[in-house]
Amino acid sequence: MLALGVTALTAGSLAAQTTGHTSAITRNQNGSPTLPAQSATKDSAQVYDSQALRFESRWGSADIIRGSKGEVIGTVGWFREFDLEKVLQSSPRALTDAQEFRVNNFRGSLVTAIGASLVTIGIVVASNNSNNASSPILIIAGAGGIGWGLQHLNRSYAALSRAIWWYNRDLPNR
């Protein structure tokens, strides 16, 4: 019986130690947070201020921005190369989404560019007053390519948004 009691007490002590001693003293008797908890929250907010990422679109590209001061650490988008995966490597789920972004962004950029080229050629052929049957085919095929490519670009930015969300979520002190 005594052994069981000691075991229970030890388990309780260990639990208190593993959560850090702050868990026992961060709340007063009313349950409201006291100074250590506020300090931890402040630390977390400071980490977010300096480390958290977001992206801002800029004419077909997106600037990756870190922190509240808006430091641009790279640009991704239409055929723009930036090692996003290296930046996000501290978060495994962010890394997975960053890979999805890279694949979809390349496909989307490539097919949209081909589609836009076909539409342009189609318009030029049609505006030359030549009765060339290829112009409607070029325009329709190009528009289809643009639509398909934009769909992939859309998917890529959804993946980028997810990747950054997970990265910010997995910042330390959270």
Partner: protein, 153 residues
């Protein structure tokens, strides 16, 4: 002895309770943080389960400012989004429609006189609409970032 055992057991359980309560604070971001989702259509989702909290319509006020009202900086950025998203969508949409009309007219013989004007006007509308949309998207991303940041403080 039984009393001592019960007291020890209760102490252990109480301490573990504090642990669980402390862990609950950590999940605030998981439960409440927002994210912009782009497929299909623009929408705001919340938390790890991606529950949709707002669909951003091009044709009416979206309510983003109300959603992030708890954070003053996020609300200010949301107003930038509200101010630019609808006009940007309308101008860009009109430009794309005129561009399509221009393609249709360009194959007609003889070409209508208006076809010469349609291309520059449509390109101008698309560029201006795109500029306004870009301002809107920046405001949107900032609003979400500040809202998530203020979950910490």
């Amino acid at each position: 002895m039984r009393i001592l055992f019960t007291a020890c057991l209760l102490t252990g359980v109480a301490t573990m309770g504090v642990t669980m309560e402390s862990g609950g604070q950590v999940t605030t971001y998981d439960e409440r943080a927002l994210r912009v989702d782009a497929a299909p259509g623009l929408r705001i989702v919340r938390g790890v389960h991606d529950s949709v909290v707002l669909n951003l319509s091009e044709f009416r006020r979206t309510g983003l400012a109300d959603l992030v009202a708890s954070s003053p900086k996020a609300a200010a950025a949301a107003e930038v989004f509200e101010k630019n998203y609808r006009p940007g969508s309308l101008f860009a949409g009109a430009g794309i429609a005129l561009f399509g009309l221009n393609i249709g007219l360009s194959s007609m013989q003889p070409r209508p006189w208006i076809a010469g004007w349609l291309l520059p006007v449509s390109v101008g509308l698309i560029v201006y609409g795109g500029y306004r949309l870009q301002l809107a998207y920046r405001g949107l991303q900032k609003a979400v970032w500040w809202y998530n940041r203020d979950l910490k403080s």
